[in-house]
Assembly symmetry: C2
Homo-oligomer: 368 residues x 2
């Protein structure tokens, strides 16, 4: 293989595909990227077997060929090269030479026979969506994906397409997050549980440009994300997702509207008094026109009052402030509306248009 | 005590003095700042016994008084308060209340009787210098202060005042760094070994403004740095500093001039091939008009050529590239001049004006 390409493009491509290089693995070949030079393009692929990413960049190919190189070494070499053309050559013994201006690196390539190529996916359904929208929706629900490997389904993002809508749902043991956006066209219904990690990686690669679109397709076992010259293939999580709608009660006894920043900053301050060994909740006292927020721990106590608009009954309820902050942080509205039923019932934060709905479990006040 | 001050000023003051709060200590009182409200000012002091910092801010004092508060807790509370007036009150039981707009924190103060106040220093000598200059000089020599507690003197910065000059010297086992600047006036000679940590902290507090000056004074055991409303008192390191001038040989066999950025970037690339277990040096081959730089390790090999101007003999010499990079990074000149004698003699990097001189030990090529 012998190929010349621009350092900047190569760097960007490496940053993209390296998200599919596992940090820890016992299979050495998974730590590599596969370089394929052909037809005026250099295609770069990484695949950790759950997620695979390939992307292509323009290149001058003087000898078509294929080679596998340690991804992290290649990435750090390219990063430190001058901003100029980079030549990558490999010989039959898989000795790889990387040259740029006066600099020349020689490293050992890997035997690419073991490389796990991206699977061929025969999609049953395919939608078009703006990259910006999918990126935003991801950032707005991803925080309540459960870390734990105990329940694989909780580690996923539930994606549903119906009519001209896309709905994304995540939940851990304490919260449910739901976002809905409109699509330009209507589609047949389809749903899939995509690993949270896939969306996490995707959100970091997608363009924040509102005009750029992408294709998302689903087969029984895979989701495929295609945009510009990049393709991400992710395994799906098998199983049936939770019946979230039946978990959310629509009734409420108290409805309050509060300034998002005031509420967030106040909760943020309360966390100063929480220590690893003393996880006290914040106690919220909803009254007419104001809401008292207080927290008392071994470190000290905090007491604040925030103006609110209220409909319905007074209520006292307690929360882990960090769980509420995660939700409030991703809401763009200046004012948020909170629905409460009883001190031991989940609170709901949602807008009138129904484009978002968040459910947060309270801390049982009886325990306090 | 009852005092009102602006959040921004309080925050800045806390950031300044908190550099003298030890990260680890068995003396709880050292983790505190002392607040003293008096005469339209709030004075804040921290003292880890080696370094003490006090600074004052404008304040409305309605009850003069004094209290000690956990520095880290106070700093984090203030950081999260709204941008407004902050009221701090303490009662006879040392219960401290911090209020800002609708927010009120109550925490326990400490008994301040144990607090170690800043020592009274009777200075033997005092100079005036621009904050910018002292900040620059510090950043240019501080990297070769030895970390080790094995030799206390190596952990210091040697400061010498003579005529209208200030000279700062540091050295670890592998390098010597010397910077000289001019002062506006001439002073009687004085010298002191100041802990590296003091200069490190100082450089982070000093203003980058060229116009602002400061006073530096020395007694037998202390150095005092005064600027604006801040005073830093540092213990000196006892003992005699190394006779650095007698360690540096002025003769050379080869003198080269090289572009700083080209040289730095090349050394930087070579570090990619160095691993924890395989610390290969970079081999520098000085020839007429060019210098070859190469490194070969188990990871791979690198080979570069950089244009140079050369006087004197060809030479091959090996270095730990990181030691050279630390030096080159802090030189402002576009071109640097390197003096070499033999493969096993230190190299010197200095300018004609003599305002800087760096000495770096080579790696013995015989071992390679």
């Amino acid at each position: 293989m012998k190929v010349i390409c621009m350092k900047e493009m190569l760097m960007k491509a490496m940053n993209t595909v390296s998200r599919a290089v596992p940090v820890r693995t016992t299979m050495d070949i998974l730590k590599c990227v596969l370089l394929q030079a052909e037809d005026r393009e250099l295609k770069i692929t990484a695949n950790d077997t759950a997620l695979g990413i390939e992307t292509s960049i323009d290149a001058l190919v003087s000898e078509p060929g294929i080679t596998a190189i340690d991804a992290s070494l290649l990435q750090s070499i390219i990063r430190k090269l001058p901003d100029s053309e980079v030549m990558i050559e490999s010989d039959a013994e898989q000795t790889v030479t990387i040259s740029c201006e006066q600099s020349r690196f020689t490293i050992s390539g890997r035997d690419f026979d073991d490389f796990v190529f991206l699977p061929e996916v025969n999609a049953d359904a395919c939608i078009e969506i703006s990259q910006f929208t999918l990126r935003e929706m991801t950032n707005q629900v991803i925080f309540s994906v459960a870390d734990s490997d105990l329940n694989m389904i909780m580690a996923g993002v539930y994606v549903e397409i119906f009519d001209n809508k896309i709905r994304m749902t995540t939940l851990d043991g304490h919260r449910i997050s739901i976002r809905i956006s409109e699509l330009k066209e209507s589609y047949d219904p389809v749903s899939a549980i995509v690993p949270g990690k896939t969306f996490n990686d995707l959100a970091k690669i997608l363009s924040p440009d509102m005009e750029k679109t992408m294709k998302v397709s689903f087969s029984k076992n895979h989701a495929v994300f295609e945009f510009e010259k990049t393709k991400m293939v992710s395994r799906l999580i098998e199983g049936e997702y939770f019946r979230v709608d039946s978990m959310i009660r629509d009734e409420y006894a108290t409805k309050i509207t509060v300034n998002k920043k005031l509420f967030f900053d106040c909760l943020d301050r309360s966390t100063l008094l929480i220590s690893e060994s003393d996880k006290k909740p914040v106690i919220v006292d909803v009254k007419d026109e104001e809401m008292g927020i207080r927290l008392k721990s071994a470190i000290g106590s905090m007491n604040e009052t925030i103006p609110i608009e209220k409909e319905g009954a007074d209520i006292r309820i307690a929360f882990n402030p960090r769980l509420l902050m995660d939700v409030i942080r991703v809401i763009e509205d200046e004012e948020i509306t909170v629905y409460l039923l009883k001190y031991n019932y989940p609170c709901r934060i949602r807008n009138e248009e129904g484009t978002y709905q968040y459910v947060v479990l309270p801390v049982n006040l009886r325990e306090e």
